[in-house]
């Protein structure tokens, strides 16, 4: 009986070692340890043996069973590792082939600029208003202190509609009037929008461009607040180290009026072709709301003061991205759009 056990053990160890895959190993296990396996049958036959023999054979058979079970478990783990390794090797791909070309759409650089400008003012507590592009003479000119036959109209060549009294707004300022007609002070509002000038298009002029208008009205709004808010804005947009200066200008709907220049972003103030050697770039117009504009919307000019400003989006975008021809913005060449 012992010889038989030793022989089973020897053969089983050999077969386990030789097994090259999980299936063969499983066959070995069934042959030895399965329900009808050689070792299982010996263990089952123990009951029919004399007592001493039963004891010694039983011990040895159990030792062998534990040994073989451990060997099979170890071997199973080894074979599994081997099989996964083979699968991994077989599934290997060239990871340097191009990945799937998901495409990414772009927002138009003018819209990006417009939204950057708007978001700065929104963070400073301004709300956003919009108005119609087709306007009446009253909103575009008269309510803004530009009476009929006034030479200031020459600066704003206007598109008129055929067979209709309306015109295409020449600035976003008429929305100031709409807002003040609907709302009482205090108010702080910006107006992004499209404006129209009847002039020939070239690298720096466009018959259509975009503005962001700003307006703040309250009982104690001063010129110094206007300087403060525009200084914050310019620093947020162009960087905190960019110098700016205010100089007198003229707009019919503000008094006093100012033009804001910033240090040339190209030459940093040294003087170059872009700034025509001055070191400064004219960036935006602003001023304190003219009392006649307040009168046009029935605000008391003694009680309220306010400031207004107008930012040319194309101009800001041109300096931000270094675009030297305004027409590129309206051509919509994908090679251009995909750069932003």
């Amino acid at each position: 009986m012992l010889e038989t056990l030793i022989e089973i053990g020897r053969q089983a160890r050999h077969s386990i070692e030789e097994a090259g895959d999980i299936e063969t190993l499983e066959k070995v296990r069934v042959t030895v340890l399965g329900r009808k396996g050689h070792l299982t049958e010996i263990l089952r036959g123990l009951a029919g043996l004399p007592i001493e023999q039963r004891k010694s054979t039983g011990e040895q058979a159990n030792v062998l069973r534990e040994e073989l079970e451990r060997m099979i478990a170890d071997k199973t783990a080894t074979l599994k590792r081997k099989s996964i390794g083979e699968k991994l090797a077989a599934d290997r791909i060239d990871t340097t082939l191009p990945g799937f070309p998901f495409s990414r759409g772009r927002f138009h650089p003018l819209r990006q600029t417009l939204e950057e400008i708007s978001s700065i003012f929104v963070s400073l507590g301004f709300s956003v208003a919009e108005g119609p592009e087709l306007e009446t003479d009253w909103y575009n000119f008269e309510a803004l202190n530009i009476p009929p036959d006034h030479p200031a109209r020459d600066n704003q060549d206007t598109f008129y509609l055929a067979g209709d009294k309306r015109l295409l707004r020449t600035h976003t300022s008429p929305v100031q009037v709409h807002v003040m007609e609907k709302q009482n002070p205090p108010l702080k509002v910006i107006v992004p929008g499209r404006v129209f000038r009847n002039e020939a298009t070239d690298a720096t002029h466009s018959a259509i461009f975009h503005q962001v208008e700003g307006l703040a009205v309250d009982e104690r709004i001063t010129f110094s607040y206007l300087k403060g808010i525009l200084t914050l804005f310019v620093h947020r947009f162009f960087g905190a180290n960019v110098d700016l200066r205010f100089r007198p200008s003229h707009f019919q709907f503000t008094e006093p009026s100012a033009e804001v220049d910033i240090q040339c972003t190209i030459c940093k103030g040294a003087g170059c072709r872009i700034c025509k050697g001055t070191g400064w770039l004219e960036m935006l117009g602003c001023g304190m709301v003219h009392p006649n504009v307040f009168k046009a919307v029935n605000y008391d000019p003694e009680k309220y003061t306010g400031f207004a400003f107008g930012i040319g989006v194309e101009r800001f975008a041109m300096f931000k991205y270094g675009v030297d021809d305004i027409r590129l913005f309206y051509e919509n060449n994908l090679k251009f759009l995909e750069q932003f």
């Binding site: 036959d149 598109f159 509609l161 010129f223 403060g228 304190m288 919509n332 060449n333």
Partner: protein
């Protein structure tokens, strides 16, 4: 406007350089520049007199010139045909360097030595183009550095005067600004005013349009060239000297800003002038040699038979000053700005005179400028003032404004004492008298822009300098009356489109009529005054613009063009915001791993539909429905509309085959979308607590039944009371004329029942499926065998 630096010094004493003055003016609100002098690079370029011109011995087209600088003689080869003995010309000597970088050295031209080069204006950098050499006025002496000879030691300053400051359209006006800034007195030319008979026949018939007209008769004038100092100043300011009389009117215009006109008295019928409206049909021969038709809205200065000047704009050819003129009638008048402006626009004539009158001239200057010109004419032409008449149709009342200096701190955050305010305003010509805490300010007649207190406050801070205004941080008080603004549907749609690979376009708001016709679109609005065809109509759709972009990009070799735009369109119903999408080409970029994929790879109807559903239908009760009347450019069988509760939000689909490109297009009404956009936060739906049950359903349906009808029937078949939601996914479509019949189509759908209250048994699921099949049978749809 060009002004002369030296001329300014006639009125105010200062030491600042031309560029300092330009900077000062810029910070006073008058943008000024000193044009970069081309002369800076004219080293060794002198004036020289041509003594003799000979033919070059070896070249037909060259000549050999002999020139002098007054001391030495130079022999120079010249190729210009206009060179002639006696001329004073610019001569670049050996060692000179010209603006283009050209260096003049010793040279032999066709065997003859040339000791320099006679220059053209182009070579000197004075003009872009020039024909032949530059010939200088005879008055210029030879032997001077060219820069000095041309400038006369003076510098031109270019200024841009704001529309509200006609008073600054003159040297005196600019000098007044400088004086105020420097807090220095300003002195204007003395006018010698004589008391003389008012024996001038002047009548004003239109008192509204002409509040003041002074006419002066000066006899025995000798018309001759102006003296050099006057001619040079006019040239410095860009005016061509003509003769002493005309030059004096121009000189006074540039000096005092008031336009004058001199008539030849002997050419005036009846030696009389009437200020009247033009007669209908009246014609006018102007000084510019053209004939203009006049209208009765226009004001003219007429003699007894016809118009001799269009008031404030241009004089007549018949009564202009000529060599033979002996007596003149000098006009110094005031005309209503709006009338001059309208007439100038109607006739298309803009002159130095009309430019000033339409901005406004001053009551006082009308008189002073007249006297100044009379004095100069007497002095320079030998004439004698015989009569002068000043006709006024109203009384001038100076504007008086009450200024509260405390208001400066209120508006500007800059305190002004009464004393400082008075000092600044006085320098600008105002009469200031204290009135309690305030100041009573009489505005001089030339400051037409000063009408109310705020205008004076601007003057105070303008002269003091904007740099004195502090930079203060305004308290940030967010306006929360309207609550937090939800993100606009427009921006959500834009972001979703960009994430799907679409780039944003921005197009002009205009369309050519031709491009609208191409899409059978009607413009709702035409532009009355377009500059070109491109501007003739307002776009009624975003399609023509995007189509133009498509053509451009397709021409550049792009095989895949994905664009969208949001912008205002103009329809008969008014202007509104629109969103449009254009897609053409491969859905996915060409990729090495596409093998036998059977999915379509180019944008077709189902792709654009998928995009629209993913952008708009997610979270909104928007539905895609059949479009019974699509826009003309859509393929009628491959387009649909997007709706919300029966409201049309827009349409989309494939363009018609006639456009010869497989292009998907979509356009939506943004405001309708905003109105119907679901702003409610989504309400949480509990996750499946009971296992979902899946069943497949294969049916055979007549082709003329729309799939939406089938899926709606399936969905409606499960009664709501059962608390079971059904999702239905189309798995396969199969057609086979032989096996199924040409009019039938088979659909396979994966149905999933999600019970909310209990576990669904097989039997229940079977009953639900039977119910669906029964409902479908009512539509002649059968189970597929």
């Amino acid at each position: 406007m060009k002004i002369s630096y030296l001329w300014l010094k006639d009125f105010v004493a200062f030491d600042e350089s031309p560029s300092d003055i330009a900077r000062m003016l810029t910070f006073l609100g008058i943008e000024a520049t000193v044009p970069s002098a081309a002369g800076a690079t004219w080293k060794n370029v002198i004036t020289a007199k041509v003594l003799d011109v000979q033919k070059h011995p070896n070249a037909d087209k060259l000549s050999l010139c002999s020139l002098t600088d007054g001391q030495s003689t130079f022999s120079v080869v010249c190729g210009a045909p206009n060179v002639a003995a006696g001329q004073v010309v610019p001569l670049a000597l050996i060692g000179a360097e010209l603006p283009g970088g050209l260096k003049i050295g010793k040279a032999k031209i066709r065997g003859v030595e040339s000791q320099g080069m006679i220059c053209s204006e182009r070579e000197l950098g004075l003009r872009e183009e020039s024909a032949g050499i530059m010939v200088l006025p005879d008055s210029i002496a030879p032997g001077k550095p060219l820069a000095e000879a041309l400038s006369g030691g003076d510098t031109t300053i270019e200024v841009e005067i704001p529309t509200n400051r006609p008073d600054a359209l003159s040297h005196a006006g600019i000098a007044r600004e400088i004086a105020a800034k420097l807090r220095k007195p300003v002195t204007f030319p003395d006018t010698k005013q004589k008391s003389i008979p008012a024996d001038v026949n002047v009548t004003i018939l239109e008192s509204e349009l002409c509040p003041r007209y002074t006419g002066a008769i000066i006899e025995n004038v000798t018309v001759a060239p102006s003296p050099a100092w006057m001619a040079q100043r006019l040239e410095k300011c860009g005016l061509r000297p003509i003769n002493n009389i005309v030059d004096i009117t121009n000189y006074v215009l540039l000096e005092m800003g008031h336009p004058l006109h001199a008539f030849d008295l002997d050419k005036l019928d009846g030696k009389a002038l009437t200020v009247r409206r033009a007669q209908p049909g009246e014609k006018f021969n102007a000084l510019d040699g053209k004939e203009y038709p006049l209208a009765d809205s226009m004001l003219v200065i007429a003699d007894n038979s016809r118009a001799q000047a269009v008031a404030g704009i241009i004089g007549g050819a018949d009564s202009g000053v000529s060599q033979s003129t002996r007596s003149i009638l000098l006009e110094s008048a005031l005309f209503a700005p709006y009338s001059v402006r309208r007439t100038s626009k109607t006739l298309g004539i803009s002159t130095d005179s009309s430019y000033r009158f339409e901005r406004g001239c001053s009551w006082d200057s009308a008189e002073l400028a007249g006297w100044r010109a009379i004095n100069l004419i007497e002095e320079l032409s030998g004439g004698t003032l015989r009569a002068r008449k000043d006709v006024t149709t109203k009384t001038f009342v100076p504007v008086n404004i009450t200024l509260r200096p405390a208001r400066a701190a209120h508006l500007l955050d800059v305190p002004f004492t009464s004393k400082e305010a008075e000092s600044i305003l006085s320098l600008l010509g105002c009469k200031v008298t204290p009135a309690g805490d305030a100041l009573s300010v009489d505005v001089p007649s030339w400051r037409l822009d000063l009408k109310q207190e705020t205008d004076l406050l601007e003057e105070l801070i303008r002269i003091k300098g904007y740099e004195h205004v502090p930079t203060a941080v305004m308290p940030v008080m967010p306006d929360i009356r309207e609550g937090k603004k939800a993100e606009s549907a427009e921006n959500i749609a834009r972001a979703r489109l960009a994430s799907l690979g679409f780039s944003e376009a921005v197009n002009y708001s205009f369309s050519e009529k031709k491009s609208l016709e191409f899409f059978s679109l009607e413009p709702a609005h035409l532009i009355a005054n377009p500059l070109s065809k491109e501007n003739e109509a307002l776009r009624p759709s975003l399609l023509p613009g995007l189509w133009k972009n498509f053509i451009l990009n397709s021409g550049k070799g792009n095989e895949r063009i994905l664009l969208f735009e949001t912008g205002t369109i103009f329809t008969k119903a008014g202007e509104r915001k629109s969103l449009a999408i254009l897609a053409c080409g491969n859905v996915w970029e060409q990729w090495w791993a596409w093998k036998n994929n059977s999915a379509p790879r180019t944008y077709d109807y189902y792709f654009i539909k998928g995009i629209i559903e993913s952008i708009f239908c997610d979270g909104n009760k928007f539905t895609v429905t059949e479009n019974s009347a699509p826009s003309a450019y859509f393929h009628p069988g491959q387009s649909a509309r997007l709706e919300a509760n029966g409201t049309m939000l827009g349409e989309f689909g494939m363009l018609r085959p006639e456009y010869n490109a497989t292009v998907a297009f979509a356009e939506f009404d943004i405001s309708a979308i905003e109105q119907n956009w679901n702003r409610q936060p989504p309400l949480y739906e509990s996750l499946d607590r009971f296992p979902p049950v899946k069943r497949d359903l294969s049916i055979l349906a007549p082709k003329n039944i729309a799939f939406s009808k089938i899926s709606a029937t399936v969905s409606a078949s499960v009664p709501p009371a059962k608390n079971i939601t059904l999702s239905c996914r189309l798995d396969d479509i199969y057609e086979d004329d032989q096996k199924l019949g040409a009019d039938k189509r088979s659909y396979t759908m994966n149905l999933t029942f999600h019970p909310a209250t209990h576990t669904l048994t097989d039997q229940e699921a079977g009953q639900l499926l039977d119910g669906i099949i029964a409902d479908l049978q009512k539509l002649s749809i059968s189970l597929r065998a």
